[in-house]
């Protein structure tokens, strides 16, 4: 219950802040975006958007086909050959905050396309971490967002690190 609250709060903040306007239409592109401002498990952090633009130079590396180079994935091209840039290019424009509610699961129709879209949280983590692995960027949890006190409690880390206990029962259960 508690963790759900944490994540929902985090996701809501991400929702508010993840909007990244489109450069090509002259809308101001934020240089810095603060993410995670209300997350309980991790502290807010500043995402250096400008630096990432410099590094990758290709919007579609992160924004898929919504801006920058349009659809190239052969499987997607079958329908989206002539699709243009989308009005909303932010992550939250497509990715749901909570994909596992009873309603969301009921609406998950295995017969339609785009029914396997990751949640907002997963979309960001997978996008960032996959690329960071490739580009030798940081991939540790706290490399991007520092853990909060409540996060330390959940992970039994930091001030909540378990005291050294006797080995007895260490492999309990079997």
């Amino acid at each position: 219950m508690q963790t759900k609250g944490f994540w929902l709060a985090g996701v809501l903040v991400v929702l508010l802040l993840a909007a990244v306007p489109d450069t090509s239409r002259g809308i101001s592109v934020p240089d810095m975006i603060t993410l995670n401002t209300q997350s309980k498990l991790y502290e807010p952090f500043k995402f250096d958007h400008a630096k990432h633009i410099q590094l990758t130079k290709e919007c579609s590396n992160c924004h898929h086909h919504t801006t920058g180079t349009l659809v190239q994935e052969p499987n997607c091209v079958r329908c989206h050959r002539n699709s243009s840039e989308t009005k909303v290019v932010s992550c939250r424009g497509c990715h749901q905050a909570d994909p596992f509610t009873a309603v969301a699961i009921k609406e998950r129709d295995p017969k339609i396309y785009h029914n396997d879209m990751p949640s907002l949280k997963a979309a960001m983590h997978r996008n960032c971490i996959t690329c960071h692995e490739k580009m030798k960027g940081p991939t540790g949890c706290q490399d991007c967002h520092k853990r909060s006190k409540e996060g330390d409690a959940l992970y039994n880390s930091g001030a909540y690190t378990p005291k050294n206990k006797p080995a007895k029962g260490e492999h309990g259960g079997h």
Partner: protein, 305 residues
């Protein structure tokens, strides 16, 4: 005549019971799960080994403090298994092809036909319509048969509690979440959505679709779709299942299929055998009894005379 009627009745009743029981257990062996059963598709290609699921499980199930913090990756040096203190653990495996090592979360698979449930003689286990395999600690006598019966080596035993011995395992967060239509704590915390929660029937389609769309990413197999008669938790993997510690030798037959023939015999043994052997005994001793009776009777008569 009356005795003969009684024996006949016993034989007919026993035969009926012995014929009826096996057909019933065959039907049980082909049970494919409740239609609205939920499940979790574990995409091991997405797991980064952050152990957040372990931390969330620990807090959700109010488990004891771990020995080391949940962000300590030194635990990957050895292959861990589920214990009374950890209903789920993530293990790291070696990639034979030089790619990054795959991780696999392990927990109760929540079988459609659970071996633990089949083996439990006090009916402590229940397969709920939501798909969870839960247990009632109040009736558990701590016999540990379920630990032997489980093909995935999941149930753990709380040896540390001398007065309340219990078998402990993942219960799909049934009481706090699943019952209310919510995903288990591990699914919710996973940053990568390596865990996808949904209707089991949908997840199987989803899994096959992922394989179809990105065939280079996966082995063309969903572990748990058919294994042991099907499980609520399903696995996708880049490497063959046995390379991430999943047992590929267990076959597709649930545990109950191995015992149904025996269990079908139980009513027969209990009903026919007593009657049959009583009858044989009585028949074998009949003449003797009658002879004695007759002898005694005539002796008595003779004495009277």
């Amino acid at each position: 005549m009356k005795r003969r009627d009684f024996l006949k009745g016993c034989l007919i009743g026993g035969a009926a019971a012995s014929l009826g029981a096996p057909s019933k257990s065959w039907a049980v062996g082909s049970f494919e799960g409740y239609p609205d059963a939920m499940g979790v598709l574990v995409d091991t290609t997405r797991c980064i080994g952050c152990r957040s699921c372990e931390a969330a499980c620990n807090k959700e199930q109010k488990l004891p403090e771990p020995d080391v913090p949940f962000d300590d990756t030194s635990v990957f040096k050895e292959k861990r298994r589920t214990t009374e203190k950890a209903y789920t653990v993530v293990n790291r495996y070696e990639a034979n092809d030089g790619q990054k090592p795959p991780y696999r979360k392990m927990q109760c698979m929540h079988c459609n036909e659970p071996g633990c449930l089949t083996s439990c003689f006090v009916n402590a286990y229940t397969k709920t319509k939501e798909g969870a395999v839960i247990y009632n600690g109040n009736v558990c006598v701590g016999c540990k048969t379920c630990m032997v019966a489980c093909p995935f080596n999941i149930p753990a035993y709380s040896y540390s509690s001398a007065f309340d011995p219990l078998v402990k395992k993942c219960i799909f967060c049934y009481h706090t979440r699943l019952k209310f239509g919510k995903p288990p704590a591990c699914v919710e915390i996973c940053p990568q959505e390596a865990l996808t929660f949904g209707l089991r029937s949908d997840l199987i389609k989803l899994g096959h679709e992922r394989i179809r769309q990105t065939p280079d990413r996966y082995v063309d197999h969903i572990y748990g779709e058919k294994e042991m008669g099907g499980t609520s938790w399903l696995y996708l993997s880049r490497v063959p299942a046995d390379q991430i510690g999943l047992d590929t030798t267990i076959g597709n037959e649930p545990v109950i299929s191995n015992v149904k023939d025996f269990l079908g015999m139980v009513p027969m043994v209990l009903t026919i055998w007593p009657a049959l052997f009583s009858g044989i005994h009585l028949l074998a001793t009949r003449n003797k009894d009658h002879g004695d009776d007759h002898h005694n009777h005539s002796e008595q008569e003779g004495d009277k005379k």
